[in-house]
């Protein structure tokens, strides 16, 4: 049923070999698309292998930990069969059997470590019980409780129940400062051991402060560079680009040299008599140090996008406003500032994204209260070895960064990212 506006069969334009022109064009453009895609394909595969797969694997690790479930098979079976029931003689028998196996395979330490994540201080319970597991005899409940009455703790059994499956959300609970309570359910941890939520908030607050400082310092510089004649501007631009190209560790080291209590700034202040020799300012190993050093490091990331936007603003608008009677302040506020918003957005989001995930500078100058969430992830990776908790914290940080990245793409567009 041919509609009236469709051309009749023999009206269709055809190429020399008889295919309809439309189809030939579609073919050609599909081939062009495939050719373009094939050029990108090797890099895409490379990035997937060296970047996406490792991060995916890390995310899966944040949901799993089989240190307990792989070693405590019998107990796992009992939990499967009995659910949340109170532990009976069969449960203790399974526990004794598993402890004996763990003692043989020398895995009691791993098992204890896993439960220790949930209930600090319980690792030794497992290692010492495993050492005596061979001598345990029925009735197992009395025998195990005789080793240590702590084995009757309901929160211990709740922790073992939740650890008996490899897949778990416990690490996210821990990352949100929640722990297993006495009744076996998750509850908010006591005030004094809540660290992660506070740390996330601190990371965000400090990133906002650093981004704000970068904007305050970067705006005048970018404006000056944009309005000066190009010859002078490119000379001053070197002063912005040199820090940008200088090693991060070098810049952090310089700030350590400047900020320490026996450092250059304090010496100058003492020499000028502004502070006494015993009243030297503590500007390092605290939040002040992190904020100063990171503002310096991220400043070029604010100046460069601002500059590229300001360069395109025609000065005629401001002159027109002045000639119509606006004061210089009104001209700035009503005419100039609105035209720089896209630059402020680009620089602001970029600085914020980089600040939220910063690791090196806070680790070196941050001390106790100037460290960020990245430093806590590194701590769990290298010191406490609670890798799943590190992965859970990293996943939450990653989610925050990806949301910001998406916003950056929506507002500015990734194509418009420029370097120098």
């Amino acid at each position: 049923m041919a509609s009236s506006d469709m051309p009749a069969e023999n009206d269709v334009l055809r190429t020399v070999d008889g295919t309809p022109l439309k189809a030939a064009l579609a073919n050609a453009s599909r081939r062009a698309r495939i050719r373009a895609f094939i050029l990108v394909l090797p890099l895409l595969i490379f990035i997937l292998l060296t970047f996406a797969v490792p991060i995916g694997q890390m995310l899966s690790r944040s949901f799993t930990d089989d240190k307990f479930s792989a070693n405590m098979v019998e107990l796992g079976k009992w939990f499967d069969a009995n659910g949340k029931a109170a532990p009976d003689e069969a449960a203790y028998a399974a526990l004794a059997a598993d402890l004996a196996t763990a003692s043989k395979e020398r895995s009691a330490g791993n098992v204890g470590t896993r439960i220790n994540y949930e209930l600090p201080g319980t690792r030794s319970l497992f290692t010492s019980a495993a050492r005596k597991a061979d001598k345990l005899e029925a009735p197992f409940k009395e025998a195990i409780l005789a080793l240590d009455p702590q084995w009757a703790r309901p929160d211990l059994w709740a922790a073992m129940r939740s650890a008996s499956a490899a897949a778990t959300l416990n690490f996210y609970q821990a990352a949100l400062d929640r722990q297993i309570g006495a009744d076996g359910n998750f509850e908010a941890a006591p005030e004094n051991v809540q660290i992660y939520v506070k740390l996330f908030i601190r990371t965000f607050v400090m990133s906002v402060v650093i981004t704000g400082l970068c904007l305050i310092l970067g705006f005048p510089i970018a404006h000056l560079l944009a309005v000066l004649p190009l010859r002078h501007a490119s000379l001053l631009m070197i002063l912005v680009l040199l820090p940008f190209w200088t090693s991060l560790l070098v810049r952090t080291t310089s700030w350590m040299v400047l900020l320490q209590s026996q450092g250059v700034i304090n010496d100058v202040l003492v020499a000028l008599g502004i502070v006494g020799d015993d009243g030297r300012l503590a500007m390092m190993y605290n939040q002040t140090g992190t904020i100063i050093a990171m503002t310096h490091i991220l400043l070029p990331f604010m100046i460069l996008p601002l500059y590229s936007v300001m360069k395109t603003i025609p000065p005629a608008y401001a002159r027109a406003a002045r000639s119509l009677g606006a004061t210089s302040w009104t001209t700035f506020r009503r005419i100039y500032l609105p035209q720089t918003v896209s630059g402020i957005g680009a620089g602001g989001i970029l600085c914020f994204i980089l600040a939220v995930g910063y690791y090196i500078t806070p680790a070196l100058v941050g001390g106790a209260d100037g460290t960020l969430i990245s430093n806590q992830i590194a701590f769990h990776m290298q010191k406490s070895l609670n890798w799943s908790l590190a992965a859970a914290l990293a996943a939450m940080l990653l989610a925050a960064v990806l949301i910001l990245y998406w916003a950056y793409d929506r507002i500015i567009g990734i194509d418009n990212m420029k370097l120098g």
Partner: protein
């Protein structure tokens, strides 16, 4: 931005105080980088200017910390400085080893990143590229994702497939981190590229390979080289991934600096820092010259 003749006194005051404010911010930007240079010549192991240094007394200055860079880790640092002493430096000095490692890893990761990145940027800059924005977002993400997350992921991945502690693994990881810079700089160069030149070349009988090497590559070379320099600097300055996936032998310059700063910061670190600053001044000069050349090639005149 000359001061207009109709400016009132308030505007005159603001005009000059604005200049002063900008000068102070420039000092904030550049002073930390400049100040370590004289301090690295300090005779004393302090991080501040000694009275001798302030009097410009030669006794207050020395190159002992630079010398320490060579002798640190040597088997016989106090021997006579003949050819065997230098051979000892080359074979054993910690900082020399670190420099060698940094250059090897940086060189190969730059090659991987530049070749793959340039080919991909050619595809990305074609108007017919499907899913352009999404793919671009994926390829830029190693620059955006916090380095600690990348390092954590690589740590798990490399321990599973047995790549941790290998140079191959390190080169791949550093190449990944350098790729966004290559993509950004090369696509930026391609944006100003006149695509009718390609059609002209094909019209005269050049195949795609000839067109690429004879027409496209010469025009985008400045972008490719500055992308490669960015990739090299990224690798040369990278410490977190090396800490997570590198073996104990794989000391690079940043890792050695990191250890030095964390354990006991000595003026030797300042000597290394000074050398690195001079290195980055050279790089900046090269990149700036390349940018001007690229603008000339593309017919962009400085406004």
């Amino acid at each position: 931005m000359a001061l207009p003749i109709y400016a009132d006194p308030l505007e005159r005051i603001w005009y000059y105080s604005y200049r002063v404010i900008c000068a102070l911010i420039f000092i904030f930007l550049i002073a930390p980088i400049i100040i370590i240079m004289p301090l690295s010549f300090n005779y004393e192991p302090y991080f501040t200017f000694t009275p001798e240094m302030l009097r410009l007394d030669p006794a207050g200055y020395s190159v002992r910390w630079y010398d320490n860079l060579l002798t640190f880790g040597m088997s016989a640092p106090d021997a006579v400085r003949d050819s065997s002493w230098w051979a000892d430096v080359w074979a054993n000095a910690k900082w020399v080893q670190a420099a060698k490692n940094s250059i090897i890893v940086g060189f190969f990761s730059t090659i991987v990143a530049t070749v793959l990145g340039t080919i991909a940027a050619m595809g990305l800059s074609r108007p017919e590229m499907p899913f352009r924005k999404l793919i671009m977002a994926i390829l830029i993400s190693p620059m955006i994702v916090p380095i600690i997350i990348t390092a954590t992921g690589l740590f798990f991945f490399y321990s599973d497939i047995g790549l941790s502690g290998t140079y191959f693994g390190l080169v791949m990881a550093h190449a990944t981190l350098g790729i966004p810079f290559v993509i950004i700089t090369v696509t930026a160069t391609m944006m100003g590229f006149d695509r009718s030149l390609i059609r002209a070349a094909q019209n005269m009988g050049a195949g795609p390979v000839t067109t690429f090497f004879k027409v496209q590559l010469p025009l985008i070379t400045p972008g490719v080289v500055s992308g490669a320099l960015f990739a090299f600097v990224t690798s040369f300055d990278e410490v977190v991934v090396v800490l997570f996936v590198g073996s104990h032998e794989q000391q690079t310059i940043p890792r050695q600096m990191w250890n030095g700063i964390r354990e006991q910061i000595s003026p030797s670190i300042l000597a290394v820092a000074t050398i690195l600053v001079i290195f980055s001044i050279c790089l900046l000069t090269v990149v700036e010259l390349l940018r001007r050349r690229s603008e000339r090639l593309r017919g962009v005149t400085p406004s």
